[in-house]
Amino acid sequence: MSDRKIRIMIAKPGLDGHDRGARVLARAFRDAGMEVIYTGCHQTPEQIAASAIQEDVDVVGLSCLSGAHNYLYPAVVNLLKEQGADDIAVIGGGIIPEKDFQGLYDAGLKGIFTPGATLDSLSEWMFENITPRE
């Protein structure tokens, strides 16, 4: 185990401005002892991938409630891969129909979270599944 804290970037790809979930999660992860960077709304996948690499995060948490997740989430995964940063885990949340889950996992997402999950359960998931990189 590393002593390093988990570094997470919470990002809002696309034009969706529903940021309540993203902001609440950013606080919850911070309170749980993680280092949190929040991008604010309206980031392109390119901007998110670039910031994630620059900030050297362990995980990127994407939040989008507009229905554009099938395009935006895989785009971030692919851009990270193209830039040799596929060790950065990508997870996603929002209004995501169950039938889209498999496609998103196949595209490389490590976790998908939908409304109803508690803040503590999400923090626990992070501690269990994300290892801070050296």
């Binding site: 034009l15 309540r20 604010g40 507009s66 395009y71 129909p97 409304p115």
Partner: protein
């Protein structure tokens, strides 16, 4: 409010009641220690005359249609006219939405309300890089007047009022509505409707962003001035608390920030345009959320009317009673709905709709049970609309005006919420107004605190959402999902490019240059926007001018 005798008598009886309560509670306990609203406002076990004894009947309560409008704007209540059944609709391309509108008009809906897709909402055309994956997803895609004419095809624009939920590009979309009316031979003074056009709440909550706060408010004052002079039946702004609440604010924050936003617009129009408050204030309209805490919502709406009328008279020296009354639209709370056990959403929405009616709304959208999952299906929309019709025609809720007036609890809660709202309003005054407060991030962080607290309370089981943290069941959701085909994006881009090939591009350039000059000189942009859209300038072409002249505002990402 009460004689000394009555209060003495009440005090004695109260003592007896309290003793009895103490005994029972000591023996059996209460279900929980603390009872509070969904906004965490603590509520007492019982309210009585002593809770409203300091009220002055004439000054604080009064009659409907009279200052301070606590009891409603209209003297006749709902007897002359029910609230407008106005369902928000928009999806896919203009043709699809136009069909949905025609369907809604056949089901008894009395006003139209437009949802735009994200690129349109943010002032991007469908072929822009920011628009990828979003075309038609959350509303209708509009790039040029060509789309707009399809949208309003067959709609009697002189008879039906249309609301458009559009903010940064409001000037461009309103210009299209005006241009479409003119093309149909309907003069501007005959069309009616609303543009949301409230940018302050975008910075605070909804985050449909384009230019910085100060020039954003300038564009709004342009529309207020243009509407006052040329489109007198149009509500040029819908000052909105809805999104503030959806972002996680308390009811008091929704009330306070919305009304303080309204005051900011009033002050800007007076200062920048040199108008008298009574020239434009009668057309200001509001938009509130109706959340799940029944009495808190009713009290909020009643308090809103009283605060606004006082502010108009006392802060702005308004002389015209039409400026004093606050008219508002209400939408039931999307954030109160659950993806789990989605049919329960019908009950939530019905309760919230009833609160809005008892709060005296002028217009109402009821959410569909599937809106938490996807765009609403026709069937779900019909249930939502029927909910309003049942309240109107069956429940008797419309029989009498402001039926909860005089309730010890409702009056006390109304007073308490008003008082807390004024505290916020004065605090924002001290910061130099709402633009300054937004730039400091004050309302944004207050909302963050409230939404975080609520989520923690929900996780701890202190607040309950059925299906989320109580009475949870494992179930397969059998809701038919409405989805928008990704192919639409290509078709819409081709449509836009066809328009751009056909139009007089030299003329478009001139029109856009005129808008730019108007921006630089501080002139009203509206006449230039109408001319530009008539020549098929696109939403983004107009918005790019604003971005160029005024700069681009980026979400600072506070949490």
């Amino acid at each position: 409010m009460f004689t000394k005798e009555l209060l003495d008598q009440s005090s004695q009886m109260r003592k007896k009641w309290e003793d009895e309560v103490k005994k029972i509670v000591a023996k059996h306990g209460d279900l929980k220690e603390r009872w509070s609203t969904v906004s965490d406002l603590e509520i007492k076990r019982l309210y009585g005359p002593e809770d409203i004894k300091d009220m002055n009947f004439a000054e604080d309560i009064g009659y409907p249609g009279q200052y301070p409008y606590l009891r409603g704007c209209q003297a006749t209540g709902y007897r002359g006219k029910y609230w407008t059944f106005r369902m928000f609709a928009g999806m896919g391309d203009a043709k699809t939405t136009n069909q949905r509108w025609h369907y809604l008009l056949t089901t008894g809906q009395t006003g139209l309300s437009t949802a735009f897709d994200f690129p349109t909402l943010m002032g991007y055309d469908t072929d822009d890089v920011h628009a990828r994956g979003e075309c038609g997803k959350v509303g209708v895609a509009i790039d040029t007047l060509d789309d707009f004419l399809t949208l309003v095809d067959g709609i009697p624009m002189d008879q039906i009022t249309t609301s458009m939920t559009i903010n940064p590009p409001a000037t461009a979309l309103w210009a299209m509505y005006c241009a479409a009316a003119e093309i149909k031979g309907i003069p501007l003074n005959k069309i009616g409707g609303t543009i949301q056009n409230d940018m302050l709440k975008e910075f605070i909550a909804q985050k449909t962003l384009m230019c910085p706060p100060e020039p954003s408010v300038k564009l709004i004052s342009d529309t207020i001035e243009f509407g006052t002079k040329h489109v007198p039946r149009w509500n040029t702004i819908s000052i909105s608390g809805y999104h503030i609440r959806e972002a996680g604010s308390t009811a008091v924050q929704e009330l306070a920030f919305t009304l303080r936003d309204g005051m900011e617009y009033v002050e800007d129009a007076i200062r920048r345009k040199g108008m008298h408050v009574d020239e434009f204030a009668p057309r200001l309209s509001f938009f509130f959320n109706s959340h799940i805490d029944f009495f808190e919502e009713i009290a909020k709406m009643r308090a809103a009317r009283r605060i606004w009328s006082k502010a108009m008279r006392e802060r702005y020296n308004s002389q015209d009673p039409r400026s004093w009354w606050m008219r508002f639209h209400t939408q039931t709370a999307g954030c109160s709905l659950t993806a789990q056990q989605p049919y329960n959403n019908v009950i939530r929405t019905a309760t919230q709709a009833l609160a809005a009616v008892l709060g005296g709304t002028q217009s109402l959208h009821t959410n569909s049970l599937d809106e938490v999952l996807c765009l609403p299906s026709d069937h779900a929309v019909q249930i939502a609309l029927r909910t309003q019709q049942i309240i109107a025609d069956e429940t008797g809720a419309a029989n009498t005006i402001d039926p909860l007036a005089g309730s010890y609890f409702v009056e006390a809660l109304t007073n308490e919420m008003e008082e807390q709202a004024w505290d916020y309003i004065h605090k924002i005054d001290e910061m130099g107004g709402m633009v300054a407060a937004v730039e400091k991030g004050f309302p944004q962080m207050e909302i963050s605190d409230a939404s975080y607290l609520y989520q923690r309370q929900l996780d701890a089981g202190e607040k309950i959402m059925i299906g989320i943290n109580k009475y949870v069941t494992e179930e397969e959701i059998e809701i038919p999902l409405v989805e928008i085909d990704d192919e639409l994006e290509k078709i819409q881009i081709e449509r836009l490019h066809a328009v751009k090939r056909k139009r007089d591009n030299k003329k478009v350039k001139e029109c856009l240059k005129d808008i730019k000059t108007a921006c630089e000189k501080g002139e009203n942009v509206m006449p230039y926007c109408i001319e530009a859209v008539k020549n098929y300038a696109s939403v983004q072409e107009i918005c790019d001018i604003y971005r160029e002249v005024y700069g681009v505002y980026r979400d600072p990402g506070m949490y």
